[in-house]
Symmetry: C2
Subunit: 182 residues, 2 copies
């Protein structure tokens, strides 16, 4: 759970990162930035800020904002009905993001999972994305990512997005953020 | 037709526009920028520069660069096999782009079509897109667009892209650019 105040603060902070990345957004869009704490109530450690530009039945485009060392926890996109599962391309716009997928584990990974949740991070093939670099993840592939010390802004291009069907390794995670009254 | 030299110059000029828009690209990507003169051999008037980030079977993302007052001519995206036709979202990143689609014509449009080709511009509902503004075009809808006096950089998010199937109002247009030896 996060408070309304914490959500607003994270939206304003996200706006600063988007501005630093040279990405123009409208005032109305800033108010719509989704702040996701994944139900762990520890936004700076496990969290993600999302600005969805378009999510039609055929394609989706978003900006993802990560604060310094903020982690989007390990998850994958399963088939949903006739949809084989979300396919997505991450393109780094600003800062550095470390992406982890199934495959040969990094000998010395650049990231440490959020404290106390380490057992829920199981894939360790590391892909470092700097501005202008990108990587495409096929449906069903477990992955997680963490920003470097300066945070990151990452464009996500994908097939239709149904975040509510994402499956997470950590059983305590709730994809839908609960916002408290204060 | 354009010359190899003209193509290289347009790629370098596009790189400057992308840089001005704050968009990081790799050196390898710059070499892959497509320069399209639509077969009219008048690139500064009728033309478009494209950097394709990803074009999977499910979605596509590109940056479009337009030089000052450069025009992408009137076209539409027809059904191809089981595909109902390309659906696309234009998001202005830098400069101003004027998009024209079917609908109530602008009383005083901000753009004039390239000289001598006016008869091939038939839709006049005007949508001005400034940085951070976007518009989605359904499959089959005729449209054209022109940059303002300072040029423009526009992100395109879409379903799978098959430019070679685009249909153009102007019968002299060839979608595939011919590059001469010099």
């Amino acid at each position: 759970m996060i408070t309304q105040k914490a959500r607003l603060q994270a939206q304003l902070r996200s706006a600063e990162y988007l501005q630093a990345a040279g990405i123009a957004v409208t005032r109305q869009e800033l108010d719509c930035i989704e702040v996701a704490d994944f139900g762990l109530s520890s936004l700076d450690q496990t969290g993600l800020e999302l600005l969805v530009y378009v999510n039609s039945q055929r394609y989706c485009a978003k900006e993802l904002v990560l604060f310094p060392r903020q982690t989007c926890p390990e998850h994958w996109h399963p088939p949903v009905g006739n949809d084989p599962g979300k396919e997505e391309t991450f393109r780094c716009r600003h800062g550095v993001v470390y992406l982890y997928v199934a495959g040969e584990p990094a000998a010395k990974p650049c990231c440490t999972p959020p404290a106390g949740r380490e057992q829920h991070y199981t894939v360790w093939h590391e892909i470092a994305l700097h501005p202008g670099e990108q990587y495409t993840i096929a449906p069903g592939i477990p992955h997680w990512f963490q920003a470097g010390d300066g945070g990151a802004v990452v464009s996500e291009f994908s097939s239709h997005s149904r975040d509510e069907y994402d499956l997470f390794r950590d059983p305590d995670i709730l994809r839908e953020t609960q916002v408290g009254a204060v």
